[in-house]
Amino acid sequence: MPEIRAPQIPSQKLKTPAAQKPAVPAVPSAVEPSLVRRFLLARGNSAFADRGFHWLMVLCALSIFGIVALILWQLVLRSQLSWHAFGFRFFYQSFTNPETGKPMYWDPVNSLFSAVPFIYGTLLSSFLALLLAVPLAVGVAVFLTEMCPRALRGPLAFLTELLAAIPSVIYGLWGVFVLVPLLREHVNPGLIQWFGWTGLFNNDNPTGLGFLAAGVILAIMILPIVSSLTREVMTAVPHSQREAVLALGATRWEMIRMGVLRNARIGIVGAIILGLGRALGETMAVTMVIGNTPEIHRSLLSNGSSMAAVIANEFTEAVGDMHLSALIEIGLALFIVTIIVNAFAQLLVWAVTRGAPAQTH
């Protein structure tokens, strides 16, 4: 990037007239415009360049709308085939397997497609993830903002930030080789023995893959975003609130509950929904541990699939145009759902952090 030259050039040239001053009277310098002005005039009229620059920047900003429109247009265009074949039934229909008589949802060879098992898998794994992650994330945020010694705060915040920077595929790798064996050997037998009566933990899948593994991996992955956003909205609560509650004789926990959490609750809900948005669209880690079978099971230990996982898993091996189109339609549904979830969450978080009297107490 060129640095500003305006001040330097005049300072060099000014020396010469100053040195010649005794020889020549000061008449020419009165006629001449100032050297800075001459320098700027020599660069031409800046109005045109200013206009151009302004519009270039506007164009860059508008490109963001363009991207959203482009994604939407392309996905709608390419999912026409499946939309015309199934219509809205795509999202709730089921077929019957002619041989076994059991319900069946996804048969690429016979061009029978329904998104039901994938919607179920996405919702179930995301719900599990929220169930595990939210209490932990709020706990960490409370600890970091209200209780933590100052010396620990920086490193701990950095660690949770680092958790957010680990790529999805590495979580998946860790899930396949560490988490899944751990669940298979030590956790699942216990769950089946103690909670088998609920019907949520069946002993029919010895691999360790499945909804529970996906839920745990997702929980680890959305923890950082939920906890850092919760921290943000909690620090936005003005100090006067804390002081007022403490002055009434509250203990620290009562102060946090009444002074901080109650004021920040809308923002915390926003943070949780933003975490949900991440969990819904997470692809690689889920694909690697969920088992990838288009079936619906009540048991959390069964194999399943999710919307993102089925796209990642089948797209390059799709058996025909209808298969491709159905997968793109699932992608379109995922896009629209995450846009709505994210927009809603963003509005909630903004409602708290925007215009919050953080420093004005």
């Binding site: 600890f143 660690l159 680990i166 595929v169 590495i170 080789f177």
Partner: protein, 289 residues
Amino acid sequence: MSTNNFPLRSRLRALTDLAVTGLTILATVVVVTPLVAIFAYLVYKGASSLNLAFFTQIPKPVGVAGGGMANAIAGSAILLAVASAIGVPIGIGGGIFLAEFGRGTKLANAVRFTADVLNGVPSIVMGLAIYALIVVPQKHFSALSGGVALGIMMIPTVCRTTEEMLLMVPHAVREAALGLGVPNWRSVLSITVKTASPGIITGCMLAFARVAGETAPLLFTALGNDFWSSSLNQPIAALPLQIYVYAISPYDDWHRLAWAGALVLIVLIVLAVSLVRYVTSRGVLKGAS
């Protein structure tokens, strides 16, 4: 002991306080544990399978020992170069608009909101859209399409951090530049952006680190390649993609390579994030203003 009148109640309150403190500490420990576990296991597994061949050789067929991911590392570099060429200028331009021209306008608010929402769009959807936009008309997978997908994913992050950094530049600096008669575009580029450049660069590095580990948008754009390729028109290998393919394969040799690749990837990303942390915490901006 002014609370002697209600000893039980006050003791209960103190106990609750203690219990909650304990619970939050427990939560923090539970959150930090998987991180430490992942890193420890990654270093343990990755370091034992990392050698020079990993950085110099291309993948060997199944059953042949050895081999490396040299082509995947080079492929990732090419993809990221394409992505940065697209994502960084447009993102910075959008950020400049938000901070310098559009402050407080409806358009700026809409752009900011859309950028934040776009940031949360699943990366696999981005891959689908680029597949439909570039791969289908071209009729073959290509490095170019992978780079474009990653570049588009960089735009919202770069845009928002650029805006935030520019907002930190004091108004006096802009006024001083304009007072000297410097045209506005030049004042923005050479004064404001330059003052904020450490922050903007760290923002770009953050976006870079984020897309460096992305796999999903490359699955059906760059596709992967077992051989050397430097053409933008050919399928190309990428480090995260290769890790994925090797991780789900049934061969132990390939699993080892996947761990080594994961270690290399994570070291690069942690370096980038730490650098960002270091630069922003030193308050380069504060010094400049």
